[in-house]
Symmetry: C2
DNA sequence: GATATCTGTATTAATTATAGAACAGGCTTG
DNA sequence: CAAGCCTGTTCTATAATTAATACAGATATC
């Protein structure tokens, strides 16, 4: 393996990643994959720089960032070490035993209302809610915080005819599903899709993270008993503060490896009650 | 150093985002939020550049990328337009009606084995599987493809004493849970966590995406009836090709807004059978 | 204590990103 | 057709990133 003969990352800049950020991601990846143990020393900077194909200065900038995030500790003249919390919470690593029990830990969540408007729905939302052409929606953007730090960014869209039943003040206090019920509507079933997305600058600012971070995405459409859409939710979660956890048990036959979900939620993982709807 | 009086993004470079990439993400975000309709014309380049606080050249580079991804179309002398597929599939937008029905669409998935080794487990995996100190694991990295394009990156860890029962060839062909059963083990229950992560360079290469892309992350630990861990899976999915979808129905009482999951899976959303375990 | 290794720091030079401006040519509207 | 707005292109100047190198201070090892 020489220094830069391999094919791959010569051009590709132009809106791509800087070499510093690339090195940062590479290291973060190796840490997340468990290549190092907590307290273990990294290879020396010259070695690492050679492995990653960048100069030592660049490698150093990447390490600066990892250090700022608390993933590594550096001791002058000695080396760079994986910090205790390096393997654990904020990475790809196993989140099963981390901060998903937020509510139970006595912490409380609060809501901040960012905007509250009536607008023409975007095409995908209009489709999901099966809105007639021209019908507008009440669109509200909220941020949910836990102990003052925001962990989810919520965009809810409700058909105008329904959403007219409450005000901004209500939305800042009560859960949306409660407001829907107060309006005489019945939430009967819902379909939700879980995916991932990058944080854009606006969302990043609202969540206190940097643009380009990974976010957990939840899109949910709630229907009444007649199949009419009454709410559309687009939620983005900080994966270091929130994740979805579910327990599965083997269902029935030994053929076919089928599983039955037991609990679904990010906040209350180990519970025998039916799960709440996440916000 | 003036010309940018607004507060926010003055320093923060150093392993942060380039302005081009920042503008790219901002636009991608606005598209994903449904600010424009398919076929709609964007504001002019000078206007957009001013809004985003970058020069027209930089804004242009961002547009180049969006165009290369097929999100926008540019007509000389006319303007930049949101392409038909701009609102829909590859973004934060609603994935409910996109390619989650892969199997049903007659497409087939295949598996490519990347590596197959016996190594000391990373601390988090050792904890999840409750391995005694010193016990090693059989670690295999695989990529699952659909019609030739990779959509998931799988890292499975099985205690050495168990994994000794099969070979590389088996792993490349059969699902891991089937191999476990053939070894006389019973997969009784499992716990899985869904989160999001950024693609590191290695994973990015394996999945055919660029480093820094958002990935859907699934971590699953499978236990036998005695509560012993028999498999640990760390899966990363391309969110544009794979997502998790679940239907929820209102369970029982009108108090408390509780929901009961009906189906859980990324491949078979609309089905009454218990869901399969996703890989 | 001598020596090697490592991080911290500084300097220089080359490459790349970005801003700003000017101009050419296509589209649109009147 | 003419005026105005738009994208496409090119140029120059400035700033930031990156590489390469050298050296100082700290730490570990023998």
């Amino acid at each position: 393996m020489d220094s830069a003969a391999d094919g791959g990352n010569e051009r590709s800049f132009r809106a791509g990643l800087s070499r510093t950020r690339g090195a940062y991601l590479a290291l973060r990846d190796r840490i997340a994959r468990g290549e190092f143990r907590p307290g273990e020393r990294f290879p020396g900077e010259p070695t690492l720089a050679a492995e990653l194909g960048v100069s030592r200065v660049t490698l150093r900038h990447a390490l600066d960032r990892l250090e700022a995030e608390g993933l590594v500790e550096r001791r002058m003249g000695s080396g760079t070490y994986l910090s205790a919390r390096g393997a654990g919470s904020p990475l790809v690593a196993d989140l099963a035993n981390v901060l998903t029990h937020l509510v139970e830990m006595g912490k409380r969540t609060s809501v901040k209302l960012l905007s509250f408007t009536y607008v023409a729905p975007s095409p995908d939302i209009a489709t999901a809610l099966q809105l007639p052409e021209g019908e507008r929606v009440q669109r509200s953007e909220r941020v949910r915080l836990i102990d003052g730090t925001p962990f989810s960014y919520l965009v809810t869209s409700v058909p105008e005819s329904i959403g007219i039943g409450w005000s901004e003040v209500d939305l800042a206090k009560k859960p949306l599903l409660e407001l829907l019920e107060r309006a005489g509507l019945v939430a009967d079933h819902a379909r939700q899709t879980i995916s991932a997305a990058l944080a854009g600058p606006e969302v990043a600012r609202a969540l206190g993270i940097e643009p380009g971070s990974a976010l957990l995405s939840l899109t949910r459409t709630v229907f009444d008993p007649h199949g009419r859409g009454i709410e559309h939710l687009q939620a983005l979660y900080r994966p270091d503060l929130y994740s979805f956890q579910m327990d599965l048990v083997r269902a029935g036959h030994r053929e076919g490896r089928r599983w039955r979900p037991v609990a679904v939620d990010g906040l209350k993982p180990h519970d025998d009650r039916p799960p709440e709807a996440a916000e």
